[in-house]
Subunit: 465 residues, 2 copies
Amino acid sequence: MPSKSPRRQLVASILGAALVLAAGQLPALSAEPFSAEPWRETAEKLVARARADRLAWARLAELTDTFGHRLAGSAALEAAFAWARARMQEDGLENVRLEPVMVPRWVRGRESAALVEPFPGELAMLGLGDSVGTGPEGITAEVLVVRSFEDLEARAELAKGRIVFFDVPFTSYGETVRYRGRGASAAARHGARAVLIRSVGPMGLRTPHTGGLRYEEGAPRIPAAALAVEDAQRLRRIHERGQRIVLRLSMEAQLHPDVASANLVAEIRGRERPDEIVLLGGHFDSWDVGTGAMDDGGGCAVTWEALRLVKALGLRPRRTLRVVLFTNEENGLRGGLAYRDAHAGSAANHVLALESDNGAFKPTGFDFTGSDAARAQVAAIARLLEPIGAGAVGPGGGGADIGPIALLGNIPTMSPQTENDAYFLYHHTPADTLERLDPAHVTDLAAAIAVMAYVVADLPARLGE
Amino acid sequence: MPSKSPRRQLVASILGAALVLAAGQLPALSAEPFSAEPWRETAEKLVARARADRLAWARLAELTDTFGHRLAGSAALEAAFAWARARMQEDGLENVRLEPVMVPRWVRGRESAALVEPFPGELAMLGLGDSVGTGPEGITAEVLVVRSFEDLEARAELAKGRIVFFDVPFTSYGETVRYRGRGASAAARHGARAVLIRSVGPMGLRTPHTGGLRYEEGAPRIPAAALAVEDAQRLRRIHERGQRIVLRLSMEAQLHPDVASANLVAEIRGRERPDEIVLLGGHFDSWDVGTGAMDDGGGCAVTWEALRLVKALGLRPRRTLRVVLFTNEENGLRGGLAYRDAHAGSAANHVLALESDNGAFKPTGFDFTGSDAARAQVAAIARLLEPIGAGAVGPGGGGADIGPIALLGNIPTMSPQTENDAYFLYHHTPADTLERLDPAHVTDLAAAIAVMAYVVADLPARLGE
C-alpha cells in the first residue's frame, strides 16, 4: 500500500495528539517516535483474560467436534454459522448478523483410484475440489507419468486417451500448487482423459491433500485427483522399472447450482469514530476432509475471541472492531468478494484488515503490508506482546478474504506470524483436526490479535497518520 | 530355553574343537572363551556385498509396489509367493518349495462409521480383522463411552443395545491391545450391538490401526472397529460436554471358508551337517491396508537376502541355512503352526530360529532367548557386527511364526534388535509402506542377519554346546 505524504502525516500527527489530549489519554504531543506504552496495562489485562478463559480453544473444539468439516454449500457450514451467531450474541457483541452470499455447492461423493496393472490394488487419493466426476463406469486408462508442464509438452502426443500423472515432488506450496490448479486443463488440451497429481505437501502418513483446481476456458473438463506421496512414489518406481501402469479412477464429484450462505459479522462499535473500522477475520468454510480446525477454524476462533476479550474487559476503543467469519474461501472466495461488494461504500473507512489463515500456531508477531509510518506504529504496538513472544513485525501481511476490500479501499493488511512450519503437512488433509493445534498457542494468538486490534482501533490518529 | 549341563557343554566343546581342527579351520582347542574372530573376514565380505547390491531393498520395493498388501486368502499374497519363489530360484537357492497351508479368508469389504448425533459426519475408522459385518442396514445406536474393562463392568447395564466405545489411551502395545483382542466379546456379553476402540498406537495423522480380534466362546459375535486417535478424542470431548452420541457403523466384513496358501521355503544345504538347521524368516502376509512393507515385507526381504548373500559369495556353512516366508501370521498363525507340524520330526535338529518381525529398521544387534553358553557365543558373533553398529545382544528374542517349532524342539530363538521406536506409529495402518524404511538400514540389517546366521550355521559345535 502507498504511504501518505509527509505533510499529511504531520498534520494527522498533531491532530491525533490533540485528540489524545482531549480524551485525557497519556501520550503527549512531541517529536518522539510513537509509543504504545500507554496501552501496556490494557494489553496485560487482555493477555491475562485470554489465558484465564481459554475460550477460543473451547469454542474451536466445540465447533470442529460438533460440525466437523464445513465446505461451502454444506449443511454443516450453515449449522455452524447459526451456532456461532448465537454464541456471539451471548458474548454481547454488537450488530451480529449474517450477510448473505451465494456459494457454489461441490459434492465429492464416493471416489477411488485403483491400479489395474501391474496388479490390482487401491491407492490413497482425494479428488480435487471442483473436479468433475468420471461417470459411474469410471475411467480406466494407461498412465502417462510426467515431471512437469514442460515434460508434458515434450511428450504431448502420448497424452491422448491416457491418465496424465504429474509426479512433481513438493518443494514449496507456491511452486507445486500450479499443478493442482492448472494440471487438468494442461493435460486435457492434449486429449488426456483424467489427471492425477502428487499431493501438494510433504510426506505424511499416506495422507492425500485436496484443494481447488481451475478449469481453463477452451479445455475439456476432465476429472482430477491427488495421490498420497507414498502412492505417487509407488507409481514412480513402477514406471522406472519399465512396467506399464493402468489405473481406474472413479469419482462421483458433481458441481450443483449455487446455494445461499453468508458471512457472519459482529462488532464492538467505536466510541469516537464508529465509522472507521478495524477488520479482523478468518474463513469459516473448510475443505470436506478433516474438521478444518487449522484451516481455518482456528483463525475464526482467535479473531472472534479478540473481540470477545475486549468486550469481556468492558473496553470500547475509539474505532469499531469488526470480525467477519467468511464463507467459501476454499473454492470460490465468494465471501471475500461479497464483503467487498456489500461494503464498497465504506472501503476507505477500513483502517486495517487482519486475516488469520496460516494456522493458529504459537504466535511470534505479525506480518504487515502498509506504509512505513503505519509499520512503525505496528512495530511499537507489537512490543507490548514481547512478554508472550509475539513482538516481531515482518513484511507481507494479508489474506485471501480481506484481499478484495483491501484492494478497493487501499487498506493496510496484516496477518499473524506464527511457528507454522508444519502447516503444509496438514493442509487440506483428513488430518486437519483439533489435535494439530495447542490450547496455549491458540490462547496466546487470540490475545496477541486482541492487543494489536484494540490498540490500532484506539489510536488517537488513524493508523499511519 | 533351558541350558545344557556343564559336562555336556565341555564334551561338546572338545568334540567341536576336534572337528574344527579336522576341517582345517583356525579356532584352536583351548580353555579360552569362544571367539568369532576366525569369521571376521567372511563377515566383512557379507557386509560389503550387501551394501554393494542393496538387493533386499530393491526386492522389498518390487514386492510392495507390485502386489501391495497381502492378507491371507488374497490373490495378492499368492501372486507374491509365486514371484518370490521364482526369484529365489534365480538366486540359486536350494530346495525352493511352497509347503501347503490352509488359511482363513477374511474380506473387509466397504466399511464406514459416521456420527448421527450431535451432527452427521464421517469418522476415520478401520474394521478389526476377523470381525463380522453389520449387515447391509448397518448398526445405528447410542454410544456408551468406557475407559477400561473395569469401567464397562461397572456400567454393564448401560451396554445393552448400545455401541460400546473403549476409549483407552495408548500406553504400550501389550497394555492396550487387550481391548482390540477382547473388547468385542466383553461388550457383547452385556448386550452391546457393536464395539469401537481407540486405535492401538500413538497419535498419527488421522491414521486408524486395524489388527485381529478374538471372539470368545459363549459371547455373541458383534462387529468391531478401531477409530483414529483424533476421532476417538473427538467422541471423548463430545461425551464430556454431556452430549448424547449416536453413531452408525456399516461393515461388509465377512469370513469365508479356508483357502490354500503356503509357506515359501528355500535353503543352502550344510556341507557337513545338512540335517541341522538354522531357521530364518518373517511373515509374507500383511494386513489389508498399506503395502505391508514394515510388517513384515522387510523381515522377509532381509532374511531371504541373508541366504542370497551367502550364496552369492559362494559360501556353504557346515549346517543348513533355511529361510521360511510364513503365511497368515496376522490372522491365524497357520503358517507357523503348519511349519511345526510339517517339521515336527526334525524340530530338535533346529539349531537356532530367528524371526525378523519388528521392522527392518537400523540394526543395533540381536535379542536372544537360549542358554548362557549359547548367549556367550551369540555375543561373540555379534562383535563381528560392531563396525556396522549391530553388536548388541539383549534378552527376549523370538517371533510369532517360529514360536510353535521352537516350543516343540526346545530351540534357541532370536530376533533383530533395531531402532524401531516408530514401529507402532505405522503398525497395521495404511501408512505401512516402503517409505517407512531406509535403504541403508534394510541393507545393513540383511548383512547383520547373514553374518549371525552364517557363523551359527558354521560353528564347529552346535550353538551352545
